[in-house]
Symmetry: C2
Subunit: 184 residues, 2 copies
Amino acid sequence: MGETPHVSEPALDEQIAAYQREFADLDPQVEQIVSALGRLNRRMNVAYGRQNATLGISNAEWEVLKALVLSGPPYQLGPGDLAKRLGLTPAAMTHRIDRMVDEGLVTRDRDESNRVRVIIEITAEGRGKWLEAMRLATVFEGDLVQDLSPEERKSLGEVLIRLLRRVEQTQPDGGGRMEDLDRA
Amino acid sequence: MGETPHVSEPALDEQIAAYQREFADLDPQVEQIVSALGRLNRRMNVAYGRQNATLGISNAEWEVLKALVLSGPPYQLGPGDLAKRLGLTPAAMTHRIDRMVDEGLVTRDRDESNRVRVIIEITAEGRGKWLEAMRLATVFEGDLVQDLSPEERKSLGEVLIRLLRRVEQTQPDGGGRMEDLDRA
DNA sequence: AACCTAAACTTCGACTCTAAACTTTATAGG
DNA sequence: CCTATAAAGTTTAGAGTCGAAGTTTAGGTT
């Protein structure tokens, strides 16, 4: 994983002013929303990454643990299913699981009732790491929304879900992993 | 760049229900905000990637063009500056520029007044691609917020900026490129 | 003037991901 | 039965990134 390079992006206001200078047909209101979304997301991912690093796991590993825990008992999934949920190719999943098995976060076993299938199961250690990561994440997230009133939180959540639904209609599934992109 | 793998994630409601089952200390309101933010961002990046692909450029290249255009006349930046703005290491920037020079999107020249420096400048073709990409992006973004009233757009933008400021306070700069992570 | 240090970029080696080819196992037809 | 096809994972080759070492140039010190 390693330390991330230093970022130094212009202030959001300046950025939007530059957009208007170079591209006249721009709705600054919309641009503000889109740019803030992108930046916010990246900053949050960096913050999660720092926290997870203190637990000795990467965001990538956190994602796998999350999928396994949220799948519910018996906390098992196949590599293919995991790949679909995370938006990875099966090949990438194979390698990621290799590492996580080596680190003791998950186990890999053949399904004896159908020997083509493989079963990935979270270990006690993996579960513990996920729980700890969630504790850190919720503290961070609580701090993040600290300045928002209950009404603001409610309406923000609702608006975001409307936007999400709109994207899912317009861009019918099939997307996947994508390099992080700062629309700002 | 290539085709992205197929994604098939559980519905957001189910996901949040699963979180509450596995992690009692969770504020569903906050979780909804955070999860929707992550998913929305990923979907949008995938959509940009599809559009940019029709122009023959990747999101990575779009980012470089964007930085150059927004830097204003004379639309030149050094590799190091570009790397900082994009959150890449100088090494990665070198390689990315290599490709973009080959594709005719930018030029690379030594600064004769200080021969350690290198000047990257956008070409007419690069500028044209960026403009076209922006046209596609603004159509998509306009469609995205179509259901939001003017008041909703305004308050959404303001709330997002407050969140962004909060993150920037809490997580003082230094973040960078991070693999795309779906907090949902 | 010779040296030292810092800055800017590139090169190198390791790692992770994608796409495509391959292997193994299960199932359906002839 | 025996083969054909499909499904699930793995392996392989290539692309892109990071961290660290290396190279070139500028500028200050003695």
